[in-house]
């Protein structure tokens, strides 16, 4: 056992790794929420349900159609994104001019329905999805054992988040998106199809949740309520980071995962609550959030 200043390094790095993995999912989900919020000014309460849908879709695809993990990684986010597109077009757009609280309630109801349907069909105990063969091994590092699949999750999520950030901040498409956030009327006047961009953005944000779901399927059990508990934590993270910046959402997600991991090592009793406590502290000191621009 390697120890440093009385700390068991194996245990510490193990929890840090778990924290980074949770953080990867937090980052993907809060990134999706932030993108949707930027244009539509609504919070998608169904984001957790979409993550669950992604995991179930991967499981169903393997079970009934023999679609393997790597194909699911591409197909499932697209399919979940399509659900998002339909949801925006037929449920959210009709009430876009009402108080935003209504669209929030609508997504909440939609999430309840999805969760209810999957609970009814597959029970609440959870299904297992095996890790793809190529990633079953692991690497022995001097201070810990690093399973390949976990390393893959962290890398993949950082790459996806990074690409999304680059796309929004550096490309022309991203410029449209940012302009739409600032002033949709003016953009429409320039001849850009704003409703289409809104729909696609919603689909993209939801698709990210679907992707996170596929990635989560092999390490967490695939169950109907896997999304709802995660989503509440992600809400706290969004409040901590503020939704002013895409980069902020990603960094806060990863950072909170690490803090949670550290808490699990040093004071496990508080590991469920530490992120909510951080939120309380942030609300006291900087109510707009760490990266937020407005209250």
């Amino acid at each position: 056992m390697v120890t440093f200043l009385g700390i068991n390094l194996f245990g510490l790095f193990g929890q840090l790794l778990v924290g980074l993995i949770n953080g990867s999912f937090y980052a993907l989900l809060s990134l999706g929420l932030a993108i949707i919020f930027g244009l539509l000014k609504i919070i998608n309460f169904a984001q957790g349900a979409m993550y669950m849908l992604g995991a179930f879709a991967a499981w169903l695809a393997l079970q009934y159609m023999g679609i393997n993990y790597w194909a699911a990684l591409i197909i499932v986010p697209l399919a979940v994104g399509l659900v998002g597109v339909l949801m925006e077009r037929f449920l959210i757009r009709p009430i876009a001019n009402e108080d935003h609280l209504y669209s929030l309630l609508l997504t909440f109801g939609f999430a309840l329905m999805l969760q209810g349907i999957f609970t009814h069909m597959y029970g609440s105990s959870g299904l297992s999805y095996s890790i793809p063969e190529a990633l079953r091994g692991g690497t022995k590092l001097p201070f810990m054992y690093l399973p390949d699949y976990r390393a893959w999750i962290i890398c993949a999520s950082v790459v996806v988040c990074g690409l999304t950030w680059w796309m929004i901040e550096k490309t022309k498409l991203g410029a449209y998106l940012r302009a739409g956030t600032e002033n949709p009327q003016l953009m429409q006047a320039f001849g850009i199809n704003v409703p289409l961009i809104v729909t696609l953005t919603f689909g993209f944000g939801v698709g990210l949740a679907g992707l996170a779901g596929v990635m989560a399927a092999p390490i967490y059990s695939v169950s109907p309520d896997m999304g709802s508990n995660l989503l509440i934590v992600v809400f706290a993270i969004v409040v901590i980071g503020g939704m002013g910046s895409i980069g902020g959402a990603i960094l806060t997600g990863l950072g909170m995962g690490v803090i949670e991991g550290l808490t699990k090592y040093f004071y496990p009793e508080a590991s469920n609550t530490v992120i909510f406590l951080v939120m309380v502290i942030v609300l006291l000191l900087k109510p707009a959030g760490l990266f937020g621009k407005e209250a």
Binding site: F37, K41, I42, I43, L91, P94, I95, E98, H100, L101, Y102, S103, L104, L105, L106, F108, G109, F110, A111, L112, M113, L114, Q115, G116, I117, T119, H120, S228, I232, V233, F235, A236, V238, V239, E269, N272, T273, F276, L277, M279, V280, L283, L284, P287, A295
Partner: protein
């Protein structure tokens, strides 16, 4: 005067109802009606959607349950203390949540109530997953035996009427008028010199205390306090009750609670029990898309059009 007659009729109905329907069911209905009314004070009259009111319902329930099992005080005192603790928690949470608005307010309250959920899950006194079972109902003022369901019902009715009256009084007070002003146009209320956040905070505290009162009473009725009451599902249910009945109407939450509780009771017995969350989600979606004024709101519209 029309309204007053209506109140008298409702009161008479409530008084004779237990002779025709099961009193425990009616008491449950009244507890949820009070809970929904308390919630509606925030959503309907301040325009803030709290997604964490289960925290206050559950806190009231646990405190009252613990006191009834361990302290030997009379039920009215246990309920009073449960209400006070919920109100204190509400004051604390209110201070934090009113710093953010709109959608953020909903997220903050939801996250804070999840914090409470995890604390109760781990704290030794709540009984964790099992909850507190077999809470004695005790003797009201040391005299009236509440284990008799009829006595219990009339006690709950009295509590409900008190809560309902308090909310009615709050809404129609100068304080309530300021709340409505904040709902309609917050910057203007600020520019008129009102400290908007303080008003929101006081309203939140009242709302939380009344939700606690509902939870405390509910624990006595069912002789049970459990994690179900602090779960986010419960926070969602109270939103649904208010939405179905009519947001921002005084009777809406009562009607909504009646509809949802009756539906749940009916479904949980039959073969549709498994579909309960699907059905509730569906009602949510339909209400938001096509029925935003709720039952009482729609009724008022029709009434105004034809008789107003």
């Amino acid at each position: 005067m029309k309204i007053n007659k209506f109140y008298v009729v409702m009161l008479l109905l409530a008084l004779v109802a237990p002779f025709f329907l099961y009193p425990v069911f009616l008491a449950k209905l009244l507890c949820f009606a009070l809970f929904a009314c308390a919630f509606n004070l925030m959503l309907g009259y301040v325009g803030l959607l709290s997604f964490g009111h289960a925290a206050f319902l559950g806190t009231g329930g646990y405190i009252t349950g613990w006191l009834m099992m361990n302290s030997g005080i009379t039920p009215e005192l246990a309920i009073l203390l449960g209400t006070v603790v919920s109100g204190a928690l509400g004051a604390l949470y209110g201070k934090l949540s009113v710093k953010r608005e709109g959608i953020y307010f909903a997220m903050v309250t939801l996250a804070l109530s999840q914090l409470v959920f995890f604390i109760y899950l781990q704290a030794p006194f709540t009984g964790g997953e099992d909850g507190m079972q077999g809470v004695p109902r005790g003797h009201l003022l040391g005299l009236i035996d509440l284990s008799d369901n009829m006595n219990m019902y009339y006690f709950v009715l009295a509590i409900f009427l008190f809560g309902f009256w308090l909310i009615h009084r709050t809404i129609h007070s100068p304080f309530g008028q300021v709340l409505k002003a904040i709902r309609e146009n917050e910057p203007r209320a600020t520019s008129l010199g009102y400290n908007v956040n303080d008003y929101k905070w006081v309203a939140f505290t009242i709302s939380a205390a009344l939700a606690g009162l509902a939870g405390s009473t509910k624990t006595l009725v069912f002789q049970l306090a459990s994690l179900t009451d602090v779960h986010w599902h419960m926070s969602g249910e109270v939103v649904l009750m208010t939405l179905v009945g009519g947001v921002g109407t005084i009777f809406g939450p009562v009607v909504g609670a009646g509809v949802i509780v009756t539906m749940q009771n009916y479904l949980s017995g039959g073969e549709l029990g498994n579909y309960i969350h699907i059905i509730m989600g569906f009602i949510f979606v339909v209400c938001v898309l096509a029925f935003r004024s709720g039952i009482v709101g729609e009724f008022q519209k029709v009434w105004k059009r034809n008789f107003g």
